[in-house]
Symmetry: C2
Subunit: 348 residues, 2 copies
């Protein structure tokens, strides 16, 4: 994989508008009528859910998701953030914000099941040199280094460090819906030349429509595929498009897609694992364990905290801005109407 990085093609205007239609079409060949059987699922319930509850999950909930993923044939489970205690105080955040190897070993026990484990390391909030041991000493399989476009070089440094230790790696380009064409080109080129195994488009604001997503994904595949990268997507549900856009991504040629059980995740949440498993109709994936986990382990969490589509998240999605505006609005005591909130954001 990594040896291919030097074959990456440069991105110049003309080339980028034509892409390589043959290559893209070859990835779509299963799309019409048959569902692509090679696509992989990463379940990010506990990691993205950690943005909702400060990663305060009990071990029984994390284990319920772990077992559900293994039983359902899910390929990867992201068990949390591997961020530094300097960035997040352990008195405010649960152990799945740090994902020490010891924590993850307690999850796995003596019986590591057939689902790879991933953690996310945020640029500016994690320290690979302090927190990563050799892969052979760790229960973690994949390091996902995430950053906004401006912090990409730090994320790629994490990727390189983790790859050298033997981990599978992803680089996750956040807030992809907000980037200019120039920023996109630069980010994709840097990702293509990196050590990452997977390049992820993160629709952190839930602001992408299907047309833009397909365009960005096709472009990313064009830039990164000769370098042997796989390409993934992570979509939020601000506009009730998380599932639809994830299907579109599968058909456009994504190799791996993020989903979460019951859609658990920041703000409007994510594409639901149960919808994706149901849709793919791939005998490799089982729906029952996901439905049971959703009903028994995740839905009851709604008594303690709140996620999923709601008007304020729709407002930030339509305006393509960070959901924190909506989260703060929902928490405020003397909030005005949703219409006022939307218009105040529009005028900012």
């Amino acid at each position: 994989m990594r040896n291919g990085a030097r074959q990456t093609r440069a991105v110049s205007g003309n080339v980028m508008t034509t892409f390589n239609q043959k290559k893209i079409e070859a990835r779509q060949k299963d799309a019409m009528g048959r569902i692509r059987s090679d696509v992989k699922i990463l379940d990010c319930t506990i990691r993205d859910g950690g943005a909702v509850n400060n990663s305060h999950f009990g071990m029984e909930t994390v284990r319920a998701v772990y077992d559900a993923c293994a039983d359902a044939g899910i390929d990867y489970m992201e068990v949390g953030y591997k961020n530094s205690r300097g960035a997040f105080s352990p008195s405010d955040f649960g152990e799945w914000r740090f994902c020490d190897d010891e924590t993850v070993k307690r999850l796995v026990g003596d019986n590591k099941r057939d689902v790879k484990l991933a953690v996310m390391m945020d640029a500016g909030k994690s320290d690979c040199r302090a927190s990563l041991r050799k892969k052979s000493d760790s229960p973690i399989d994949m390091i996902r280094a995430s950053a906004y476009a401006g912090g990409l070089s730090e994320a790629l440094d994490t990727v390189k460090y983790a790859a050298d230790l033997g981990y599978e790696t992803s680089v996750c380009i956040m807030a992809i819906s907000t980037l200019s064409e120039r920023e996109i080109n630069k980010a994709f080129e840097a990702a293509a030349q990196s050590d990452a195994d997977v390049v992820y488009l993160m629709d952190s604001f839930g602001g992408l429509d299907g047309h833009r997503l397909r365009y960005l994904l096709a472009k990313c595949i064009y830039v990164c595929s000769d370098a042997g990268k796989r390409v993934g997507v992570h979509i939020h549900n601000n506009l009730q498009l998380a599932f639809a856009n994830t299907i579109d991504a599968v058909i456009t040629g994504a190799d791996i897609v993020d989903c979460s059980i019951a859609g658990l995740g920041r703000g409007a949440g994510n594409c639901r694992t149960e919808l994706m498993v149901g849709f793919l109709r791939n005998p490799r994936f089982k729906l029952r364990p996901v439905l049971e986990c959703a009903q028994n382990a995740i839905e009851p969490l709604r008594r303690s905290f709140d996620w999923g589509f709601d008007y304020p998240y729709m407002a930030t999605g339509l305006l393509n801005i960070h959901p924190s505006h909506a989260i703060n609005y929902k928490k405020s005591e003397n909030r005005g109407s949703v219409a006022d909130f939307y218009e105040s954001l529009s005028e900012d």
Copy 2:
């Protein structure tokens, strides 16, 4: 319009696989980057919501939706069903199940606003000859005759009767996701040759994915457009695809789309009017009145009855069957798990 009906082209296998790409592309010309500015919105909040609460809406709720539609620039508001008292007992169903001209006149008052009013007449449950007066004597603008494929001739009889009285007319082909290619061809040909102004694809079961929808819509446009028909879609949210599929329909060339405020409608509900108005970014449409109506008039109804995405509706959507299975499951006292429900349906 109606004079064009005889130019309808016959549907034979070969022709249908090629369509008329030029025509379809011409309808998509606004699609890339610019949002189509000619598409019309029909708000079906009160009509489809009537399937949830037996059409027991108070006049203040119906008027809130009417004013919101007018203020927002919505083109049509469907105020209810115009079904017969023989099919629905007035002791069980509210006045918006029958939409007598007198009822609708009370809504409109002396101040008919700039939004056309539609009613739905179900095949087998309505009687056009008994209930329709001349258009010039009625506050109603459009008659939407709906039927499953098997009842289409009755719906087309209603369409003809209503058209002769001077009404704008739609034929609504229900449960479109369940029809065989032969049934589709037959239904589209009959619709093309009819007096209907609009031919509607109704995804009653919420079982369509975007690919199938685009295919069916392109086919319908091919068959019906030379006859001067407009084409519309009505999508349910069982798979959280209502908004995405409605966007896809707009881009594929639909002339008119159904939406409902807060998604109010049977089972998983409909495409939300607020999402569609927000997405279209057409200065003709205003988001504020829709958001205010959603927050003040429709959301409070959740205290009395239930609609919107839920696992049982997802199950019937994945299995492409009527949501009544899910509605009954949700009402049953001793129901088993969602996984059991899904598997019992799969085995039926």
